[in-house]
Symmetry: C3
Subunit: 474 residues, 3 copies
């Protein structure tokens, strides 16, 4: 079977709408990529000779979208090369891993994973056959042969992908060495860190005490009190800003916000230091720290992002054996109207504050997020996240969000990817679905073509740049 990316893919089957969608898509398909939030490892760009590894290392082993699906069908993670932390050996034959994946590639029919992978195989590696059991080894060879070429180095791919800005995500205690190496090099590209303090502000994080120690070391602040902790965070935010950071990112289970008294904060922090938390301590402290992070954002201008509602490591067996981020994070119901009440009342009207909300609970799109962002000046809605970064996920997002909040309280697209070579695939999907949506609005006379032409460029490029304050800094 041939693998072919059709020019009109993903557009409506209705011919007039499709024609118009193609017109809109053509206006934006070659625009540079703004990637203001994601998880690509900056080490890839620190060393000009960095190499992307084998096809399995590049495309399977770092991608929890892929191995959660295989695991759900009874395939052990160690057979996919995932390291078992109990030191039982995992498969190290990458051709075997690739074959196993290819044998089960049918599982991904209709999923964004197959759309992204087909796009990568075709446009990045020039593969022209459909991946299946029979073609697996041939395709492995083709990719392997490409990956050793200089033009397939991360830096060269960065340019080939036409990326204008790439933001990574970095722990609050990160020294940003790789970002330093990139700065020191002759390779002048726009790569920025993002400040993510979850591991120190969520007191029940795995390794919290170690993280605090690392934060102490990097900031040279001995953290023995709540105030020193706050000082250290402010120092690191400044450090991140010096490396171009434009945003922070916060993962919380429940986006509850509530300031506590300084003495309560100190008491809880002391209990955390001796490892003796009361039941509600972590929950109350996280709620308080969201308030503090908002305060700091107003002071230093970093855009605040909240990614709530993921019940991390639902499967203890997988956590114990393979660690975190193995495809076992499951969403829960999320509530914003009441949980964000205090934060929005204190900071939501402030002209210097910018808060971007994401959700894994689509029932909040029309009910809570769109009305909130359609009122509070500080608030914007992030693009469809994680499971909803998909054709239908985007369509439901446009459907449920825009009529209430308007396009201009959203922030365009961010790929949020760990898988570097999937970045163009993800932006291309967003651009196609956007073009199809704007075409439908136009053809149904909800907007006119002048509006449509502006909206499509905003969707593909301007909104992301503006929402993450990248206009000023460029």
């Amino acid at each position: 079977m041939e693998l072919k990316l059709h020019e009109d893919r993903f557009f409506s089957p209705n011919q007039p709408q499709k024609n118009l969608a193609i017109q809109y898509y053509n206006l934006i398909k070659d625009l540079p990529i703004i990637s203001p939030h994601g998880h690509v490892n900056p080490a890839l760009f620190a060393d000009p000779k960095a190499n992307l590894g084998s096809p399995a290392e590049l495309l399977i082993m770092p991608d929890h979208y892929i191995y959660r699906m295989l695991y759900s069908q009874g395939i052990d993670l160690q057979r996919l090369g995932i390291k078992d932390t109990n030191t039982i050996l995992s498969t190290s034959d990458h051709r075997e891993i690739w074959q196993l994946f290819a044998d089960h590639y049918y599982l991904f029919r209709g999923t964004p994973t197959s759309i992204w992978l087909n796009h990568e195989l075709s446009t990045v590696f020039g593969v022209s056959e459909k991946l299946c059991s029979d073609t697996a080894q041939d395709i492995f060879t083709q990719i392997e042969n490409k990956l050793v070429l200089e033009e397939f180095s991360p830096r060269n791919l960065f340019d080939q992908f036409n990326i204008e800005v790439l933001c990574t995500t970095d722990a609050a205690w990160d020294r940003l060495e790789y970002h330093q190496l990139i700065r020191n090099s002759q390779w002048k590209r726009d790569i920025r860190p993002t400040f993510r303090p979850d591991g120190v502000v969520n007191l029940d994080s795995t390794g919290w005490a170690d993280n605090i120690m690392k934060l102490s070391e990097v900031t040279k602040v001995d953290i023995h009190s709540y105030n020193q902790f706050i000082d250290a965070l402010e120092i690191q935010r400044k450090h991140f800003k010096e490396f171009g950071a434009i945003a922070t990112d916060h993962a919380v289970l429940i986006p509850f916000t509530q300031r506590i008294s300084m003495s309560d904060a100190e008491d809880i922090f002391q209990r955390a230091l001796i490892g003796d938390l009361y039941p509600e301590d972590a929950y109350r402290f996280s709620a308080h720290m969201l308030m503090e992070m908002a305060r700091m954002s107003i002071e230093d201008g970093l855009v605040m992002q909240i990614h709530p509602g993921s019940f991390r490591n639902h499967n203890q067996f997988i956590l114990n054996r393979y660690g975190s981020d193995r495809g076992a994070d499951i969403p829960i119901q999320t509530e914003f109207t009441r949980n964000l009440y205090e934060l929005l009342n204190e900071y939501g009207n402030h002209p210097k504050f910018s808060l971007i909300l994401f959700t894994l609970d689509e029932s909040t799109y029309g009910r809570e997020l769109a009305p909130l962002a359609g009122h509070y000046p500080a608030l914007k809605i992030g693009p469809p996240w994680w499971f909803f970064d998909s054709i239908n996920g985007m369509r439901r997002y446009f459907d449920q969000v825009i009529e209430t909040t308007g396009l201009y309280n959203t922030v365009g697209f961010n790929d949020d990817t760990r898988a570097f070579p999937s970045i163009p695939a993800r932006h291309d999907l967003w651009r196609r679905v956007s073009a199809n949506w704007v075409a439908e609005l136009t053809i149904r006379r909800i907007i006119d073509e002048d509006d449509g032409k502006q909206m499509i460029v905003d969707l593909a490029y301007n909104l992301a740049k503006k929402s993450y304050n990248l206009e000023k800094s460029s």
Copy 2:
């Protein structure tokens, strides 16, 4: 740019469906408007010489859909002419307000607000250019010149809009003076009040004590006890009925229903009178009063409407400075199956009871509302409300409600508008989306064309008239 309302607007891009939708739409486009629930000020019709004010006063200043969007983009409400209750001066240059609005009209792309406004500008005021920065002043002048003409008086527009019935919403303590003036006049049109007792049955309402005093005055009942309170409500319901009222309306945060004992009711009411409520008092009393309101509805035949789930005045800053109804009401999750258990078990099987439910939580459409209304004889589902009074909101409503509950457990459309000149626009949108939906059912052979022709007339006219008991009274 030309502003043009295309004949085929909002219909599917699929040509056969569109053709059929147009056919259906033509059957109903000229039917009179039934507006059984809304917030138009009856004073407009009390004085034959009433005037609608400037274009800004007519189209911007009373419309929280418009200024919440501008506020969400950082535009101060006082720049839009909204009165600051702290007596800081607001802008009084209406041309300036209009210009500011026009400069930001692009924010409304894809929203129902722009659809309604374009419809009003084109059909009511004959504007033929698209509103934008350049055309703002010209369009202001055009509207201004129209608004001084006699044919643009509210009464003349009422007839031009082809309104058969218009129901207003009036506080329980209202004297209905404007309704009285309309009755006393030579102008015989069907304008009716709706009984809304929120400000006295919700004990934590702002100004509750004042409201009780007003209720005392208008009913001549000294309200010092729960029983006197109930008497006063019954007297006012009768008063409203004498002015043609056919319904009551109840806004509650949570639609919990539960009868409490007479002595509990009396105790709580006494605490309210001395301003010393216990924490659950207001919640329990509201739950009880919904039961009482249902009982009274069975006795006097007023249709009962519940509009639950809006967290009012979420933004305290806006409330303190500009008052209520300023675009800061945000929905919360809503539960019906358990909350309405007691009310439906006591009254849901009663042939004389009619209860219409609305929701701001679309996840309840298919899960709770459609199964409940598809069983209880007393229950009907109201049309898509507020944020969901939109093309997609209506489509999701039809999609999720009808397969379970059938068309005949819904009540047609009500515009629920404060903005008088938008009434035809809103009904036109409902009629177009309805025609498009019935056309899709027909073309997919889910219904035949005979069914379709009846359904479209029911949607546009019959259901509203029947559900609000307007057949009997006309």
Copy 3:
């Protein structure tokens, strides 16, 4: 009016998509029916001379989809022949019941009930006129005349319907006499029981003590302790397996799972035996028994099904007068991520465990069910259930489930019907909606046609057979 089933019914109005949908549909329309979960009475097949009764007995009186809709419009159930348990006479004139139904058949416009019934009338009984007041008596006569013919016996219809496997649902204490009679007969067809222990594991079930006594009798285990109770359940599961059972089924209000200690289990069980339950007893015991049922499933290989979230008998008046299953069961919000945490952590990784989840809360499709089934090997998602067994319900299911979980973590279709003659109609609807969905994926280039051809056969036949372990046993 003519009643005509168009060949292209229910497909998209878009011509290219429709053409492809027809192609896909033609691949599967004649495949045998796999019905792995439903509520058909096995007695129908025990007696070769069994008769389906009058048209009203066959099509109205057993179908709560039909009479809940009529009841919701104020029609008393006794007028529909539903027996009033207070011995007030119900209508026994079946022609009158049929006429009443036909007079109100317009209520079902756009509902799956009308789709199913039109399909039955046309394909099973050869009716060619649309059911309405005028045609009611003629159509009654036509059906009546057919039902007395030998070819309309349940056994002959079973073959005519091309049913390969039919699973019934049977109480845990059932003796399976009808299944025994079928086995003893010359008529070798694949009809299997399903083990449903709700009436004994949910301690607050109506008639729990009686059910326990019946379970004692059929197993010959004197049930005076929790351990004896468990023994009896295991004996009956074995008994069911001997009659071909491949699954169990569990209805719970809330799918909470948590093991309790043996002594707690014993204490609670003893309290249940003396009828003196503590408030949380039933809830805790059900949560525990789901754990036990999972354990047993791993041991005996029965697939476990959970149908949660239905608030049974919401209307006490109907329950008291007409009994259960009268259309008064209303869904509630359902939570899976936290509630199933313990069960999935204990058994979700087990290769011998298979758990199929259903839901009446569609907001869980994309948020919880798809991510859970897209990770845990034991977990699969059942087809759209009850109110969502409809054109739109299926479309929303495909839309929200597949991108995250893939097609192969779903289980195909089960009709879940009580109404035997509606089985082909329900499978035909599923096959048409499936074909239309796969056609859309294909035409939008999300999959290719080779994938599409496999997916449509999987949807119509293979997935159900595989998920319910019917491949091995056939």
